[in-house]
Every structure is written in C-alpha cells, then in structure tokens.
C-alpha cells in the first residue's frame, strides 16, 4: 500500500515539474503572456488578476476536495446519515461566487467591448482563410499610398503603432486567426466578415497559427504578422505596387517564366505576367482548387515564408538575422526580401518537386471525386529537375 502510494505521488510530482518547466521556454514566440501591442495588453491586464483570483479559489477548492477525500475515506465506517437542505449555507455559497463572477464580468465586458471597436481604424486589411494558408488583400487606401489593391499571403505586413482592422472571412471551412502577441483569436467563417484589431508597439515579426481545426494540414496553417515603421511600410507598399518586370531574354529565369505559364498559371496569379501572344495571363484557381484560390505569387520573394508560413523562404542564418534584428534595423532587413544567396533552395525545390509530400494535402488525383476533381492544396506536378531549376530562377525574380 505504502509503496504504490509513494509511486503515485512521485509520478504526480514529476508531471507537475514537467508542466512547470515547460512554461519557462525562452524561445516561445507564441506566448500569450508576452503582449506586444495594446490589444493583447488589454487582454493580459484582465487575464492576470482574474487568473490570480481564479487560481487562489481553485487551490482552496482543490484542497477542500482533497481534504474531504482523505479525511473521510473508506475505513470501513458506516455510511453517515444523509441530510437535505441548509438554506443559510446554500444561499451563502451561491451569493459569493455570483458576486465574484459579477465583478470579473464587469471588467471582462469592458475589455470585450473595447476589443470590438471598429470606429478608430486607421488601416483596413482583408484576410481570407482557406485550406491551409491565409490570403491578405489591402483595399485601396490612398492615405497609405495604396492606390491599387495589394494581394499577398502568409505574412501580414502592417505599420507599427497603427490601429489595423482585419476583416476576416474564409473560403472553405472555419479557420481562426491568432497572433498571440497582438490580440486574441477570431474565427474566419465562410460568408461572414468578422473583424479583429491588431496593433504592434515595435517593428518585428509576430508568429501565429490557425486555431480552429480545419483539416489535414491545420497544424501547418501558420502565419506571421510583420510590423514595419511607417516609412518602411510606405516602401513596402510601393514595392508591392511596382509593375511586373519580365526576366531578360535568354536567361534561365526567362525559360522559367514559360514553364510557369505552362504549369502554374492555371492556379497562381502573377500580376502583369503576359502570355507569348501578349495577352495577360489570368489564373483560374476556381477551376482547379477546391477553395477557389491559390497564393498570389506576384511578389513572392518579398515575403520570408511560403505554404502557409510552414516553410521559410530564407535560409536559417538569414532568417535569424531578420528575426533577431533590433527594431531600428529590422525594417531594412525585412524589405531586402529574398535573394539567391539567402534563398532556402532545398525547401522550395522540395515543394516544387512534390508539394503534397512535404505538406499533407488532399492532392491525390485519383481521390478527387468528392471535390469535382479539384485539389485541396497544390498537387504533385511531376516536374523535371531542369524545369525546377528554371522555375527557381524565375521565382527569384518575383520581388
């Protein structure tokens, strides 16, 4: 008896210690307890005292339960007489929790309403979730220099110290947008527009993750919010609106462009890309992809990640350089984008070689009866290594 008891206690202690140590991780970019903007700060300021109160009550209740279990455990004594009703005690035990909850409720409601404000917005960004990546589009807002809509994916770029309002929706199932350092979660629901406030105090990258189970690659549906100073944001906007530069004749990239036109344009839009006959190449993801969209690759190399921020476009060393840069240098480093020396060729090539192998997706051509022959995700296109060489050279020009 003693032995088994000691064993159980030891196991309990070990689990507790593991949980405690786990909470001390230093590199935890998605730590909810480290707010990096006013909205997240508001939540944290509410959450800390509530957690303390709830924690104390929790310990008291658990201790009382433990005491009762221990003190009145079965020692062969007769079952005590059962009684019913003790109004004074019952009323007290109802009123006290009700009061506590009422106080917590007042503060909670205030925060909820503050977080729901949409009348002080300075910049609107539309966010559309789909299996398994996020699309961002920036509606025309002349005060930010956005004179034509910008479309991007994976990394949400926003100016620092600005009240940004996301208008979220989804193209297939329910997803949920969550950048823990900047605000709580908000579901993206097909056919509806839900808003989420974001504001970052300092330039930097803030990691996040889809938090509504959305299918096979839910765990790989990540995102990053990138905050830039106002000047850097203006540069980013200008860069995103810059006209398409076709690769020079006779280069590998030019050959890549024609491979892209043959293989990729049916799903991926590159703004300004023209076919050999001079007409604009218009992607038709609605005919090929179940959710009706594929990432817009016009400025692919201006972002640091791809495929729902699951893979880095930058090699680890280059990426660390950007992530760890201090606020003053961060903007310039981020705006430099991806060049040949920094490109994470391995992951990009693996993606082009056989995307469903590196990211689980419903892309088996033989199993598409349920989706009218449309893919969920990017299929294996059976490209040759030399085609991949050309494509990588071409993709590097998309900046």
């Amino acid at each position: 008896m003693m032995k088994s008891r000691r064993l159980a206690l030891r196991a309990l202690a070990a689990t507790g210690a593991a949980a405690f140590l786990g909470s001390c991780a230093t590199n935890a970019p998605q730590d909810t307890w480290q707010p990096k903007g006013p909205n997240a700060k508001m939540i944290d300021d509410l959450q800390q005292p509530v957690f303390a109160v709830a924690g104390i009550i929790g310990i008291i209740v658990a201790a009382a339960v433990g005491f009762a279990i221990w003190r009145y455990k079965d020692r062969g004594q007769p079952i005590p007489e059962q009684t019913h009703g003790k109004p004074a005690l019952e009323i007290t035990l109802t009123v006290i929790p009700a009061l506590i909850l009422a106080v917590v409720g007042v503060f909670t409601f205030r925060v909820i309403f503050d977080l729901a404000r949409t009348d002080d917005t300075q910049l609107v960004i539309n966010v559309t979730g789909q299996q398994w990546w996020w699309e961002y589009d920036y509606p025309v807002q002349n005060e930010w220099g956005i004179t034509q809509p910008i479309i991007s994916s994976g990394q949400l770029v926003m100016p620092v110290g600005t009240k940004v309002l996301l208008r979220e929706t989804s193209r297939d199932v329910i997803h949920s947008y969550w950048i823990p350092a900047l605000n709580g979660k908000r579901d993206a629901v097909p056919g509806r527009v839900h808003t989420l406030r974001l504001e970052a105090d300092a330039p930097g990258i803030y990691a996040g993750q889809c938090t509504e189970f959305c299918g096979l690659s839910h765990a790989n549906m990540r995102m990053e919010a990138v905050a830039l100073s106002n000047e850097d944001f203006a540069k980013w906007v200008a860069g995103q609106q810059a006209a398409y530069q076709p690769p020079a004749e006779g280069t590998l990239a030019k050959e890549g462009e024609s491979v892209f036109l043959n293989q990729c344009v049916r799903c991926h839009q590159v703004e300004g890309l023209k076919r050999a006959d001079g007409t604009l190449a218009i992607a038709a993801p609605d005919e090929n992809v179940w959710s009706g969209a594929a990432p817009n690759l016009t400025k692919l190399m201006s972002r640091n990640t791809f495929a729902g921020a699951m893979f880095n476009l930058l090699r680890d060393a280059c990426r660390d350089d950007v992530w760890r840069a201090d606020s003053a240098e961060f903007g310039a480093k981020y705006l430099a984008g991806v060049d040949e020396t920094c490109l994470n060729v391995n992951d990009l090539r693996a993606w082009l070689r056989n995307a469903p192998e590196v990211k689980p997706m419903y892309a088996n051509p033989a199993l598409l009866a349920d989706t009218n022959g449309k893919y969920r995700g990017m299929p294996n296109l059976g490209l040759s290594e030399s085609d991949i060489d050309k494509l990588v050279a071409y993709l590097l020009t998309l900046k």
Partner: protein, 379 residues
C-alpha cells in the same frame, strides 16, 4: 491491497494497454487512434492510482435480498431498438438512427434500474434513487417530444385553413388554454385525474386536427406559390408573381456582418463598410467566396439593387435563385427585390474570377438611378 475498485480499474487499464499495443501493431503506428487510446490509458492509470490511494470503492458489498425486483420494460424496448437497427440496415438510414437512439436510451434506463434495485434493501429508497438520477433527463425529453407533436400538429392545421380562419382558430385555442390554465391555478383542490383528462382531451384534439390538416394539405394560395417557386424566385425586371413577397429579406443571420451596406440616399449610392470611417465608392469582394451586400433604399420610389457579374461564365450568383432562361441570367446579373423607402434587403453574390479577368468593371447599380455605381473590386 486489491479490492473491488482497484481491481476494476486495473483490469480496465490492462485492457486499454492491450488495445493500444494491438492497435499499434495491427492498425497504424502513431495515428489519431493511438493517441486517443494512450489518453484513455493515461486517464485509467490516473484513476487506478487515486482509487488505490484512497481505498474508495474497496468496501466489500453486503449481502442483500434481491429476490423482489420489479418487472422491467427495458429489455423489451432494447429488443425493439435492435429490430429497428436491423430494419434500418435493410430499409432506410432513419430507422437505423432511430434504433441507435432507442437502444441507447433503453440500455441506459435498464442499467440504472438494475443498479438501483440492488442499491439497498429498501425498495422505496431504491426507486427514489432511480428517479433522482433519471427524472432530470426523462421529464425534459418527454416534455420536448410532447410539445413537438402538439406544435407540429397545430402548424398542419394553420397551413390547411385560410388566413382569416387561422387567426380565429389561433385565438380560440389560445383562450381555451389560458382559461384551462387559470382554472387549474385557481382551484388547487381540483382532482388530478380531472386535470389530466382535460389535458389529454385537448392534446388529442390538436393531434387529430393536425392529422386532418395534413390530409387536406396546403391551402390554395400556399400550394400555388410553392408550385410557382416564388420563395426562391427573384425578378430583376417587373414583378410577374402574384405572390411577390417584399418581406422575404433573408437577412436574419446576414445582417450582423456583411461585406458592405449599399445605401441609396438622395439619388446617390454609397457603400458603408466596417472599419472605413467614410462611405466608399468601391468595395473589395473576396473572390470565390459568397459575399453579402445589404441594399438600403432611402429613396421615395421603390428600388432594387442589381449586381453585375461580369463577362459570361465569370461569376455566378451564390444563391441558386437565378432560374435558367431568365433574362437577367443571360445578362449575367442578379438583384434584390423591389423594396420601398426605408426597407433593406440582402444580396449574396459569388465572384469566381478576379476583376482583371473582366471586360468591364463589376458594379452594383440601381435601375432608374443614373450615373451612380459602386465598383466591386475582386482581387
């Protein structure tokens, strides 16, 4: 050391570990099933530890006189459920589902009854133990079923008789219920049997009415409207339907978060969008996605909003309203109904192709209001 409780949980833990190992070997390594079984195992081991720690459940049961247990309905119900299951396999899924429900309910009742009958030597106490456990579930379920039958029957009556007769019947039935209720409340001394008799007569009357109503079918105008499909049908031109329904706004769940609210005010169109301080002349609509606009008419004349869907095949109305052969389907547009001043209506559209693929900009316009259009940008 090992008594009843710990033996039970130890056995369950052993069974779970066996299953886990078998699953990993025979089914799949490290799949969701394996994770789930590991969790079950962890939970059982935890429970075993607690039980061993506190001796709970280890008391040996005392001998009891169990000879006098009552008759039970539940074995019979279980068999009925099983038969429904088999029937469902052969005939239709609905019976199968019904069978599952019946079997589960009957087994639960049976289990609780069997347990309660051996709880103590005192049959009265046993019965009250059973009731304490089951009444909170039984009463609401039975009440819901009963009410459902009454409401469904009553609705059949209302659909069968004319609108004005419907109002009269409604008032008469409601007053009868009110009268009976007040009477019962004022005379607590009334015999229980009398009260139940009155209730049963009322319920049977309504159900009988419902059966009769279902037999008669829909009243003429409803039947005609259903045949005409006017609930689904929408005109972009002059209304042809006699049953044109201005109030069919479909805005119940939509109105709280639409893409934009398009307002017609003093002959000018503008788009109100959450997040934008000023009304806009251009809205962004997510591609390949149902997007909802609300049209608000502040003009004196009756107006409707028309959404152009772009070059042929480039977009489709998300709502299946656009019946084939309609002129507006050929023109590739869709619209709200005509709505009077102060009214509003929702319109859901799906643009499959981006604006760059269109010959002309996509717009939201109001026929009869010249020079005004909201441009819809589709990225």
């Amino acid at each position: 050391m090992f008594k009843v409780g710990s033996k039970l949980f130890l056995g369950l833990s052993g069974f779970a570990s066996f299953n886990l190992v078998a699953y990993i070997i025979f089914v799949e390594r490290l799949a969701i099933g394996g994770v789930a079984l590991s969790m079950v195992l962890a939970a059982l081991v935890g429970l075993t530890a607690i039980v061993m720690l506190i001796n709970e459940g280890d008391s040996e049961s005392q001998p009891r006189d169990n000879a006098l247990t009552g008759a039970s309905l539940w074995p019979l119900m279980t068999v009925v459920g099983l038969m429904l299951l088999v029937l469902g396999l052969v005939v239709a899924q609905i019976y199968f589902v019904l069978g599952i429900v019946v079997v589960l309910a009957a087994l639960a009742e049976w289990l609780v009854q069997a347990w309660s009958e051996s709880a103590s030597d005192d049959p009265a106490h046993n019965e009250s133990a059973r009731q304490r456990l089951l009444h909170p579930i039984e009463f609401p379920v039975i009440a819901t079923l009963g009410l459902g039958v009454v409401i469904f029957s009553f609705s059949r009556v209302m659909l069968a008789i004319s609108k004005s007769a419907g109002a009269v019947v409604f008032m008469v039935v409601a007053s009868l219920v009110l009268l009976a209720g007040s009477w019962f409340a004022l005379r607590p001394a009334l015999k229980g049997a009398l009260v139940s008799a009155i209730c049963v007569v009322g319920a049977v009357g309504i159900v009988a009415g419902g059966i009769a109503g279902a037999g008669v079918g829909l009243r003429t105008d409803l039947a005609e409207a259903a045949e005409e499909g006017h609930y689904l049908h929408r005109e972009c031109g002059v209304e042809k339907s006699k049953y044109f329904d201005k109030k069919a706004m479909k805005t119940l769940s939509l109105r709280s978060n639409v893409t934009a609210i398009i307002e017609l005010r003093n002959g000018r169109l503008s788009a109100v969008m959450v997040g934008f301080g000023e009304p806009q002349q251009r809205v962004t609509a997510s591609r390949a996605n149902p997007v909802t606009f609300i049209f608000r008419n502040f003009d004196e004349a009756e107006r409707r909003m028309v959404a152009s869907l772009g070059s042929a095949m480039a977009a489709g109305a998300a709502a299946p309203e656009t019946t084939e052969g309609d002129s507006h389907a050929e023109k590739n547009e869709t619209c709200t109904q005509l709505i009077p001043q102060g009214a509003e209506q929702a319109l859901t559209v799906k643009y499959d192709k981006p604006s760059v693929a269109q010959d002309a900009p996509l717009t939201l316009t109001v026929p009869g209001v010249a020079g005004q259009a909201i441009e819809v940008f589709v990225p």
